[in-house]
């Protein structure tokens, strides 16, 4: 057998890499596939021994049941809570970030304190918050949950937007000021458009964090503003798991996230590394 040429060797390496890449990707996606597939199965197919790897046919009855029983209200609640808190956090946070980035307000100590707020374990904070909420009758209300998610996401928004705003050349703002713009006009006409993609990306991640949260919602909701992760755990019982509902609800709660993150792919690395890696 003759030795392989350099070209052949390279092709072989590439083929190997593809093989491993496909295998790894399938491995990582299999649980997601399994979840989606269960959501399309009939009860007989779900509780078939041995487990079936393909549903007989795609049917949406599991989803229909969620709509019929009114369980989708949880998705709606999640949408309201995550959406509203993201908007508020983005507005307040971006102004904070602008002040921090351009005026160095509070110096590094303030910036440090803000990001350290993000790192405190939620369980330690949520307990006293629960006590205070009970006192003020804010448990199981939209405003209570929105306030909490706003506060939870503020450090992230401030930290990320501070980085995005610092990336904008100072000269642009200066020349706008020289041209007679007021400070608000500068922010509105120069900073926001220049930081648009950063704003979008940060908003998406803010939404995802609030959307995915389970702990705060578990403790601070009862019946009125149950979000989708809490609703999901209601289907899990010691003896009887409502598999069809678990799967269908999970898919409903996951699809928006998948879509949003796929659109924001380019900003993903920066977004999840707290701005440390600009990808």
């Amino acid at each position: 057998m003759t030795a392989l040429t350099r070209r052949q060797r390279r092709a072989l390496t590439l083929a190997m890499r593809y093989l491993i890449a496909v295998a790894v990707t399938l491995l990582f996606l299999f649980p997601v596939y399994w979840l989606f597939m269960i959501s399309f199965k009939t009860p007989e197919e779900i509780f078939h021994v041995p487990p079936l790897w393909l549903p007989g046919q795609i049917q949406f009855n599991n989803y229909w049941v969620l709509f019929k029983d009114g369980d989708v209200v949880a998705i709606l609640n999640s949408l309201i809570v995550a959406g509203t808190s993201s908007v508020i956090a983005m507005v307040l946070g971006t102004f904070c970030a602008y002040s921090l980035a351009r005026f160095n307000t509070g110096g590094e100590n303030l910036a440090m304190w803000i990001i350290s707020q993000r790192m405190i374990p939620p369980m330690a904070v949520v307990f006293p918050i629960f006590l205070i909420y009970v006192h003020f009758g804010m448990v199981d209300t939209f405003s209570g949950l929105i306030l909490l998610y706003t506060a939870f996401n503020l450090p992230y928004v401030i930290w990320m937007m501070r980085g995005y705003i610092a990336d904008i050349p100072l000269e642009l703002e200066e020349s706008a000021l020289v041209d007679g713009c007021t400070r608000w006009q500068v922010i509105w006409k120069v900073v926001f458009p220049m930081a648009r993609s950063g704003l979008m990306a940060t908003a998406v991640f803010t939404f995802v964090f609030a959307w995915n949260d389970f702990l705060f919602a578990l403790i601070l909701t009862r019946t009125e503003v149950i979000t989708f992760p809490v609703q999901l755990t209601h289907y899990m019982g010691g003896q009887s798991n409502f598999w069809a509902k678990i799967a269908a609800m999970s898919v409903l709660g996951t699809l928006p996230i998948f879509v949003a993150v796929t659109i924001m792919q380019r900003y993903l690395v920066r977004g999840i590394s707290l701005g440390a890696v600009k990808g």
Binding site: L35, I38, T105, I129, R183, V269, I272, A276
Partner: protein, 310 residues
Amino acid sequence: MALPFSRLHDAMSTDTYGHRLSVFSDRNFKYLMVAPGILILLLVGIFPLIYSLVVSFQNITMTDVDTSFQGLLNYKQLFRDARLWQALGHTALITAIALPLELVLGFLLAQLFLERMPGRQIFVALLVLPTVLSPIVAGATWRLMFDVRFGPIGQIVSYFAGEPVTLLWTVNPSLVYPAIIICEVWQWTPFMFLLLLAALSNVDQSQLEAAELDGASYWRVLRQIIMPAIKPVVAIAVLIRGLDLFRIFDIIWALTEGGPGSMTETISLYTYVIGFTQFDTSYTAAVAFLVVALLSVIVTLVLRRMELVK
């Protein structure tokens, strides 16, 4: 509050060059901008901690609302509470196994996708999906996967074993930790992968080529060029994941709820149990405060050391 924009304009027109920073020297404006955000952070971040500190010196339990001050009663109890230290131990155990695993697997994945290949973006986009799932969904998914009768894991294991194998993943004491760690590693390896892929892509190519010309071994290149170059990113990634693992709750809630018994109870789960099922209010406040104090010190030290703040 009226902002003195006009005054600023006057300053601008006379001082266009030379004093660049004078453009941004309006005191009221900068404080006005941070005020609402900081106010909310103080309200929801700091006030509860102070409240918690006060409650932790009282003796409020489910049956007795005793608001008289008891000194260090609850803090003394911390040291006698075996279940608390076990919970901290469980948390440390999960972190100690999952974190290095995620880091190594993430690094290997990043190496695999480092060189350009057609369709790489698609692979990356797909691999990211577990990381953006809600952890409670991840936990639920694996609970379905691990199910003894209707889940595929048992089926696959049985297939390779050649005989029916019964694995009670969420009940068997020797399998609960592997189950939790599999789920955790599955969800967060892509996180490490993404950050390391970005870091590895930024390693100085000319240095790598020079090393290759010198005939340096892979291990030497890894230790002397790649490692130092990606160290800051690794530090950030480990910090973020370390903190996440310290507060791990959702996945375990969905998989085992801390069981069997309290075998997989982490510090977050334990705090939940004493606070929201036993209603041991004052003691929970003490535990919560211990956790915050512990973590604040660590985080501040680590942040300063890592110079995350530019």
